[in-house]
Amino acid sequence: MLEIKNLHVKLEEEDKQILKGVNLTVEAGKVHAIMGPNGSGKSTLSYVLSGKDGYEVTEGSATLDGEELLDLEPEERAALGMFLAFQYPVEIPGVGNMTFLRTAVNAQRKARDEEELSASDFLKVVREKAKTLQIDAEMLKRPVNVGFSGGEKKRNEILQMAMLEPKMCILDETDSGLDVDAMKLVADGVNALRDEGRGFLVITHYQRLLDHIKPDVVHIMAAGRIVKTGGPELALEVENNGYANILAEVE
């Protein structure tokens, strides 16, 4: 599904290489986790895949179902099925959450030559999905993420994911800023979306999110590269011993 080959990325503004040859394949139906110390390039990878400005790809490719993502605008990638759950969801004062969701859903449907959802159909679907994430009507009415607590923002990300039904979901430190209960709620939302046709890339610092979202494959990223790949036990090793042993072993 998602295939990243030899991806090299530097910051546009300064001559600083962040990703130095990332190779990674996420198959449909699988959950891959990426762990790694601060500054290893995890968030950069998620931004580059979703098309954020400010990064320059100097080498390599990233394809989704064979289509090159790196040549596309962010909205085109979204229409192909890419989704990034932001580490810091952006507040947009003045744009109602509901308007935002409907605009996004219909923009993607339009881009895929599908019929737009009517206001009433949309409302039905969004209410149902919001309920399972414990998002109340008030939150849907408020401006996007404005005045939301950390937990509400992350739940709102998962709601967007549920509404947009992407093929490939990247979760960038979705557990940051969440208490145990909130993390469980978010994880349940993610698990509900797991199915054979969908791939996940979960970026996290901590094992505890992976207790709730069980990964199939765990990668360790350091200094802009995937340095080790293994099963769920790799995450436990990190939790118990930190990165030092693994990094030493790789070097």
Binding site: E75, R77, G94, A107, A111
Partner: protein, 426 residues
Amino acid sequence: MALPELKQSTTAARLAALSLPEGGCLEVARRAALSRVQSMGLPDRRDEYWKYTRPDTLTAVEAPRAAVLEAGEAPMFAEFDRLKVVFVDGVFDAEASDDLALEGVTIERLSDLRSKDIHWAKDLYGVLEARGQSPVERPLAALNTAFAEDGVVIHVTGSPSKPINLIYVHDSDSSDAILHHVVKVDSGAEATILENGPAASRFNKAMEIDIADGGTLHLVRAQGRDHERRAATHLFARLGSESVFKSFTLTVNGVLTRNEAIVEFTGDDAVAHVAGACVGDGDFHHDDTVFITHDAVNCESRQVFKKVLRNGATGVFQGKILVKPGAQKTDGYQISQSLLLDDDSQFLAKPELEIYADDVACSHGSTSGAIDEDGLFYLRSRGVPEGEATDLMTLAFLAEAVQEIDSDEIAAEVNERLHGWLSRRR
């Protein structure tokens, strides 16, 4: 003091091209206004109050031509249940207008007052304008008082069941219109006035509003989108105790617009909100000039102005809150913000506070900025194309001003129009 020669000759030339309507109860006020113009002279570039906006096309003898826009859409408020009062190039059109009878309000033509010696409007016509000439001169308003042939005088005595919609049709590309309205709201009465349309190639409009104790007036206007039209408007409002005045102005296009609002609190516990949203492109120049005088206790004033500017458009804001001695517990708020969609556009702001009371809360803020890139990326990452995302962000920027409209129905109409215009221009 003698006027500078150039100012004197400009003023004399302009006045010579106009003739003072004679007869009736307003003639004295007209003559007084004429002498005010003669002593002040019409504005020119050297006047401090016109530092950011060139008045020459507003004071020239001939109105510059302005093509009539074929908008290809229903006029604003067309779907509303309202009482229509139509002016074409500044002349009342009885046929296009509704019957002016409506319970809770009396509406008469200004020109009818020429045959009346006694009328309530005599106590207001030119009176609020004259009060508004100090401490800053507003010669175009005095010119309006002297020469306006048409307009309406509205006396709100109760709570009319529907809004009064003043519709200004632009028909001739060389039209030059002067309209003057007087609105008197009785104690406890409440009305909504809607205004829309470009009115003329050049439009000079004044509205004097007197709200008695406990009265409420909502004023929502949409200035026409004709690209080359020019307008200088003045709003003079005097508020009694516990009265409420809410005004919102939408301006999209128009090569030159100067909207002055002069609000005076004379009774305690009153509320005045003056808001505006504008979207300008290219040679668009839009100026909001506001002067709010607190001369009573515990009054709230709120100014919210938002401007979206692109392709070299210019926005101006001159807003002042004057709190007189004794006007304690004043709550004055003022914000003016511009969203600059490119490097060529500019926003010139002069926010002012002048306070002579010690127990007041006044704040002002003025900002200029580009569109929030993080917000834009967030929307795009969800599949919203860049143009549509920019429109959403633009509407969101304007929302704080549009929210000043109390009626959800009217606010929805404003938002819908804005959305349509933005997306068509993409």
